[in-house]
Symmetry: C2
Subunit: 243 residues, 2 copies
DNA sequence: GTGAGGACACCTGTCTGACAACCTCGAAGC
DNA sequence: GCTTCGAGGTTGTCAGACAGGTGTCCTCAC
């Protein structure tokens, strides 16, 4: 009862964050014991089930470890955190801005193409399905930092291709069409720009690229965008936690 | 009570997996409603608190979404899964094997070096701290696929450097020293092999490399290994989920 | 004095029952 | 036809209780 209800989050989520704050405040280190359930319920003024749900979340997050009959203990996961990991979904546009770039976008080409096997599998559509293929380049102060190829189902973007503004965030665009991507599966590898692309766009000095091949899904689980993003090697570095 | 107790996992964890199985069995799709708490407690023969803890875990995993007063619904996260994502910690040795390679390891150099600023910050030790610098190459059928540089505190591997077998998994080695890494923070970027390394080891044709810079932590939260792993671009591709 | 055993306190795991807050939808009243 | 109200369904939260594992300390037998 000792708890403000302004917060729209559920009690459990507040509790989870409160406990993290407590670990930080008390400077608890890996191996240290967390206060017992009874103590915590009293400190936070909540019931045991609510507290236990919050603790369970932290346990799944590898922040704490539980030993029956003994107690709960801080693990290494409590100290190992990274800001804005690549595993949090965001649009390429957002990501680029977050890196401090304010890029201009150059639309290299838009075309209606039939789905080949690779794209068809990713977008779960028949081979030959009409798609829009979008080819773009993002430049920061006239330096190309990102070369992107995107595929979306033609049926999701009806109308004439040149009536649409393709220079903004594709995620936003799909969002306005009622199919906003909210998560994705991705693969990362290191490549060079395709030879013809480098030649056509004067990108010989692009250097090694981090290629992220990403299939974006909308809230109803439908694949919406299939994207190949070539990140200039010396312009991007992605972080993540492994546990 | 309808539940086998052989399983050493806690009831909640079994429940979480049971619910995932149920989603799969019933072929529930994103947007579909999950059975209500009451229904689920009856089908699984468990209490509501236990069930709720399991549901909370799935909620955190973005498998389900809850709307108060309405019910729980499947989200895209239920369908979007990836096997063996890069976000699960494992040793480089394990990872390479998982890719189907059976590489030989060539130890290029071992040396005792003082920590420079970059490494000192990662390993949270003073600049100048004595470290072991280990330089290795992994070859698959005589093709170099991975070039690794590792740093560990000298104090963790006492004894003469050449008395230690450095050709195996460094994670295992540290494990036998009581400091087994269990998680890490990592950064990925695309680079070329350092010029001198390529020259010295006849690696001109290595091509673009996916560089993963990783700090590995032991269970007690101490940084144990600082590693630079250059993955040959055409030999590796890492997958992960973003949500 | 010493070692083995048991009683007990402490902790987490699980269950039961209850009430509050929120949503939907239909029926009653206007 | 429209609005209002209320009943029923669903999740959010709480209180209390018992079960089972762990560690400690005391006692008792030797």
């Amino acid at each position: 009862m000792a708890r403000a209800q302004r917060d729209t989050r559920t009690l459990v989520e507040q509790l989870r964050d409160d406990i993290i704050a407590l670990i930080s405040d008390e400077q608890l280190k890996p191996g240290d014991q967390l206060p017992t359930e009874q103590t915590l319920t009293e400190t936070f003024g909540v019931s045991r089930p609510a507290l236990r749900e919050a603790l369970k979340l932290l346990e799944q997050d590898a922040v704490i470890r539980v030993e029956r009959g003994k107690g709960r203990f801080i693990t290494a996961g409590a100290t190992v955190r990274v800001e804005r990991p690549i595993t949090v979904f965001e649009s390429v546009t957002q990501m680029v801005r977050r890196y401090g770039y304010e890029p201009s976008t150059r639309v290299l080409s838009t075309a209606e193409v039939p789905a080949d096997e690779e794209v068809a599998e990713a977008l779960r559509c028949p081979v030959g399905e009409p798609l829009v293929r979008l080819e773009r380049l993002r430049l920061n102060r006239d330096v190309a930092i990102l070369y992107c190829v995107d595929f979306v189902r033609r049926s999701l973007v009806p109308g004439r291709l040149y009536d649409t503004d393709w220079s903004g965030s594709l995620v936003e665009l799909m969002g306005s069409r009622g199919a906003r991507p909210v998560m994705s599966t991705a693969h990362a590898s290191a490549v060079l720009l395709p030879e013809d692309v480098a030649a056509r766009n004067d990108l010989r000095d692009f250097g090694p690229a981090l290629l992220i091949t990403e299939t974006c899904f909308s809230a109803d689980g439908e694949p919406v965008i299939y994207a190949l993003d070539y990140h200039r090697g010396d312009a991007f570095s992605f972080s993540f936690v492994r546990k």
